[in-house]
Symmetry: C2
Subunit: 397 residues, 2 copies
Amino acid sequence: MTDFTATRALFHLPEGVIYLDGNSLGPLPRSASTRMAQVLERQWGDRLIRAWNDCDWMTLPARVGDRIARLIGAPAGSVTTGDTLSVKLFQALAAALALRPDRRVVLSDTGNFPSDLYIADGLLGALGRGLSLKVVAPEAVADAIDDSVAVVMLTEVDYRSGRLHDMRALTWRAHAAGALAIWDLAHSAGAIAVDVTAADADFAVGCTYKYLNGGPGAPAFIHVAPRHADVVQPILSGWLGHDAPFAFERAYRPAAGVERMRVGTPPILALAVLDAALDAWNDVDMAALRAASIRLSERFRAEVEAHCPMLTLASPRDPHARGSQLSFAHPQAYAIMQALIARGVIGDVRAPDILRFGFTPLYLTEDEVVRAATILAEVLATDAWDRPAYHRRAPVT
Amino acid sequence: MTDFTATRALFHLPEGVIYLDGNSLGPLPRSASTRMAQVLERQWGDRLIRAWNDCDWMTLPARVGDRIARLIGAPAGSVTTGDTLSVKLFQALAAALALRPDRRVVLSDTGNFPSDLYIADGLLGALGRGLSLKVVAPEAVADAIDDSVAVVMLTEVDYRSGRLHDMRALTWRAHAAGALAIWDLAHSAGAIAVDVTAADADFAVGCTYKYLNGGPGAPAFIHVAPRHADVVQPILSGWLGHDAPFAFERAYRPAAGVERMRVGTPPILALAVLDAALDAWNDVDMAALRAASIRLSERFRAEVEAHCPMLTLASPRDPHARGSQLSFAHPQAYAIMQALIARGVIGDVRAPDILRFGFTPLYLTEDEVVRAATILAEVLATDAWDRPAYHRRAPVT
């Protein structure tokens, strides 16, 4: 039984703010400060280098990985954490390509996060060998999977529209064509009920600063299907992915399983905060979370559509066809969002014209989403957004 | 004028400990806790997503990079921070190889940190093209640089012996042969007076959790010589190395200069702690630091050699030929170090038989190194190390 009143109490939520941007950066878990003080003062401060053993720092990436594994339907021991999502995706893609040496195409879609496509460009450009990245429309992916495709590389939830791919069907299709599937779960982990095992995904990667509330730039995760984990050769063959890092052998011998996807020294401070943030998920049933998320987003959609006729829904209308966000298009999206933020309702924008709102049942109530829609309607009805200050672009959107 | 009494007061140094392992993990700067609390509560907690703009998070990697630049003789704007050293080295090596497409050999030495060699193995294995890693003895590097060599990839200070390469001479030799030079400054930055500009290094990378006291797994840094910075094509082409990350363009266009070596979302919490740690360096003159470091290590060497005849010096005797550490060999190095640590003197060991001690004038006094040597002599003279508990290996050495 998931008690969202209890989980809400675990977060620091500033007075006067309705936070609809947990899909971009989750809020501060109240336990983070205590945990960080403990790691700083009692572990690093008092134990110094000894903390690597005394405080089990070296196993922290795997322990945090196991907690994330549960949220994405992965078996224990199949997820490790560290680096950034871009780096973890690079590792997954290189590993997948090496498992399909006779094929030349990486297939992705225009709904993928640009960084994922950039990472593929960078890797394929360096590898040469006639490899190419084919980017099709999201709805054209299934039909584009043929026996030239080495890897289907997709983000499950579109960062702009929230449109949800059918992970299971597309992975099945990839496998039927002899290809592998890599899933980016950036907008899935902690947002919807993910089951990488049922979907038979080959690799999954994700970030933890959105729905998992790990903090700005929190470590990423990577899942490697157990059938591949002892086979893949890491391109980023760093010492902590070595079977015996402290033997300082000349030759790289990959560690067993997903541990070989570790690279450098783990970011202990950030991992500790992420570990604390994951406490909020201990009693969360993902099906209950998804149901609550749909209730919130459907209520918001209904209110906005009733009171904001000048906005166009830019997400699938069917809540089961989208992740835990809603997008609306308006030519003045940027200024509207600034006006909204000035009134305490925080969402974000995505170029060129998308207002984006995330729904996070762990700490967001239905009452809040109704109030947020009311304030949005007021901003729009009074043209309150049309002030010079609201048009002035900040570096980060 | 560097006042080391003042810098010592900036660190949390546990009672009863003499810390000679700052070359592995520097101690906690007292300001870290305050800074972290501020970032957690006032920035992330109160400002949420707005902190990316309000609190200048997006420029933090460059601002921290500039502070490190000063310590390694690099111009402002030529260093960025993030990821781990292994990842930064991977980027540097891929970039350097692409600048020398007609050459096939990466030259390194047996004194390099194994992870650096592993990273080269992983990259070269993936790239194919007949590329190979040639590993020679440290003293054979200069003569091995010929016109087959694309990149000379070295760590300036040997992690085991402390032996110091002549960065300037070897870089000159590399350039004379048409090769590029990548320097790993893991045991140099904050340890000795580094001048990558005078040495004309093409790339330099390093970690910040040793002499720079950034904390366990703190972000790494990379310097790209300005002559290359707008030319290199990043293999890890993540969105934050894009010229306009928030335009979400389909095509990757690298940012100007070293900013293109950024990859994913920056690790704000860890960078903030590193930034706080770098305050200790504000008034430090690197020549004065080096002189103090030599005084400390020479005093320790003299004491140990006078009172511990069973130990063999495993570092260059000439202090100008080594970094800021001293190593001694003994077949029972592991057990001896455990006995020493049990008595409050913390160093570390490196397989198979090296006792390793780091000298860090920011917070270490001559009195302490004399006491440490006395305790070491006692442990050895009484065979106090020969207990079962001291032979039991911990996972991390």
